[in-house]
Symmetry: C2
Subunit: 358 residues, 2 copies
DNA sequence: CTGTTAGCGCATTCAC
DNA sequence: GTGAATGCGCTAACAG
């Protein structure tokens, strides 16, 4: 039915086939007033059964779908939450998103998901988009320090919670993990296994969380009173690909100069490193032990299962959603800042059975 | 400003700190009429420079952010596209999403991303949500056959395009991949390598695409005129975890009963299988060769790089976005149904150097 | 219980 | 070039 491009027949069926049907159309169709239709939709108990059925029938026949924008404009309430993720390609964040959604969706909230892809520019754009749409609340896994921007949003009446980054003060809320403790757990584990040459993989200048993890590791080393070399290797970012680059770097080193243990600041990087080491014939954990961070599903599933510091991503997401919906519905004051505890999950990449490398 | 519920201190700054500022406030502040402010915002050239600057200053000072809902209600245009993904945990779809976004975002469209998680119920709910918000267009990677629903949406004036599933007819649009050909490519490759006992991993009853891939493989086998055993193993779903289960199953078989080659209907499953095989000491590809499907980034990055049938996810997403924005802006009729060609990407999981298993 | 009315914030007429 | 008036679709307040 497509029209030829030069002087065609009746044009594309695509545009404007049917005018959207409004509450008024339904009212006319069923012989009641618009107000009554609205009542059937929102307060069915206020309407006589007979009329209610009649209206419902018209709704069905006409295929009426309510207009959220109009509804929003009128009520001042968008029933919508914005969720701004730092990096949708990292399972940690999609898992967190699932936690947010499972909580909020069932309670009637619509979630707008966006991905800042670790770009401050995009972060700003999306935050603005959320503001333009007058979302009721925003959950954001921020890139840097955006406290001021969040306070600004609060002042516009939008509740905000930072996820995966600790906040403070009364204005904003946050859900985070004790990353210093996480770093300690990882380092302590490696120290107890006898490692004295450890490399931390991560760029402490980029992200607070990474800095905290390194600080935790440093603390653990200091507390141990052991002669430990703790080096830092900085990947370009926190992806599998960057991990593989680091892996190549390590493989190129003469074995005597390699660390005996690696603490990667996330699992993706750890997995990338591990892939290269295994291919190069390095035995894990016998020659090099590896600890990751996040405990994403892939950590458990990699060729050599990865020891990792577990962040309860799903629970953190749900907690963030709880905080924000509570604030929005005026429930009793919950704590403003929730801090989760990390957990060491030991697998074969640090204490493995004897495996031969690929 | 609400008071604490039990006479606490000045309560939460959370709720309603500041009333959102409207175009009217800006008008008052800058001593012009609301209409002029609107012009400054949307048709700056129609306003004197002096006045324009004055208004812009007020906008800044007051922190005015336009209200999209009101705008939408007035213009009838939401400038919004809904994107409904089948499975955000599959990199294929996030990659496709990136393609959609890169095209549409730059052209001023807002994208609402949702995840049906392969649940028809959720699919229906989100489609409805999109309709309530009067998105201008919907791109959906559908679970089953939703042609009728899409036609219904079209009739409401919402343009739709199916992604990753072939459509037909004039009403709707689609972007898909020739999966039959993909299946042929994979099977032919394995046949050429001399394999005569091949297992297809996937449930052809669940998803059209999987059925097509199997059909393509069957065709290739038939065309070869070779004595080939083509079996089918049905995983519970298309995830790494399900792949691992299949892997266990294969490992439990006496080697003589195993196929010499596996064709998995997606990369995630292939990767799961491969992990288990490698751990069990099965040499890939020498004892068992594996071909995946999709060519996600992980395929290249797995311990033994995976041969795969490449779907150009990013391009498919971009193409879907192009189709829909073209339809929406009334551009010359593009083809309604775009079919991409698959590509065989050969890596070590089928022709590998001699690697020892883990 | 039901119909009528006003107005949410904005863009777009139309006069001026 | 600018201001005043109008209405998008809906809900809430009120009158009947």
């Amino acid at each position: 039915m497509a029209a030829g491009r030069h002087g065609g027949r009746a044009d594309s069926a695509l545009r404007q086939v049917g005018r959207p049907v409004s509450i008024k159309d339904v009212a006319r169709e069923s012989g009641v007033s618009p107000g009554t239709v609205s009542n059937v939709l929102n307060h069915p108990e206020r309407v006589t059964e007979a009329k209610r059925l009649r209206v419902e029938e018209s709704v069905r026949r006409l295929g009426f779908v309510r207009n959220e924008s109009a509804r929003h404009l009128r009520t001042g309430n968008s029933h919508t939450l914005g969720l701004l993720l730092l990096d949708v390609w990292n399972p940690f964040f999609t898992e967190m998103a699932r936690g947010v959604e499972d909580w909020a969706f069932d309670r009637g909230w619509t979630i707008l998901i966006s991905n800042s892809a670790r770009q401050p520019t995009r972060e700003a754009i999306y935050l603005n988009l959320f503001a333009e749409r007058r979302v009721d609340g925003i959950i954001v896994a921020p890139h840097g320090d955006i406290t001021e921007r969040l306070i600004d949003l609060q002042n516009r009446g939008i509740a905000t919670v930072m996820a995966d980054q600790r906040g403070s003060g009364d204005t904003t809320m946050s859900v985070s993990l004790d990353d210093v403790h996480g770093g300690e757990l990882a380092a302590t584990h490696l120290l107890q296994l006898g490692h004295r040459r450890i490399s931390f993989i991560g760029d402490p200048n980029q992200v607070t969380q990474v800095r905290d993890r390194l600080f935790g590791a440093t603390k653990a080393v200091a507390a141990s009173n052991l002669p430990v070399q703790l080096g830092v290797l900085e990947p370009t970012d926190l992806t599998v690909a960057a991990g593989r680059d680091i892996g190549e770097m390590i493989v190129d080193l003469p074995p005597s100069e390699r660390s005996t243990a690696l603490f990667a600041s996330n699992d993706l990087v750890a997995i990338g490193i591990m892939q290269i080491l295994l291919r190069a014939g390095v035995r894990i954990p016998h020659e090099i032990a590896i600890v990751g961070y996040d405990d994403i599903e892939f950590a458990r599933q990699s060729t050599v299962p990865l020891t990792s510091i577990r962040q309860p991503a799903y629970e953190m997401g749900r907690s963030a959603a709880q905080l924000i919906t509570a604030a929005l519905t005026g429930e009793p004051p919950t704590p403003r800042h929730v801090v989760f505890e990390p957990e060491l999950v030991i697998r074969e990449s640090t204490i493995g059975r004897d495996t031969d490398p690929v």
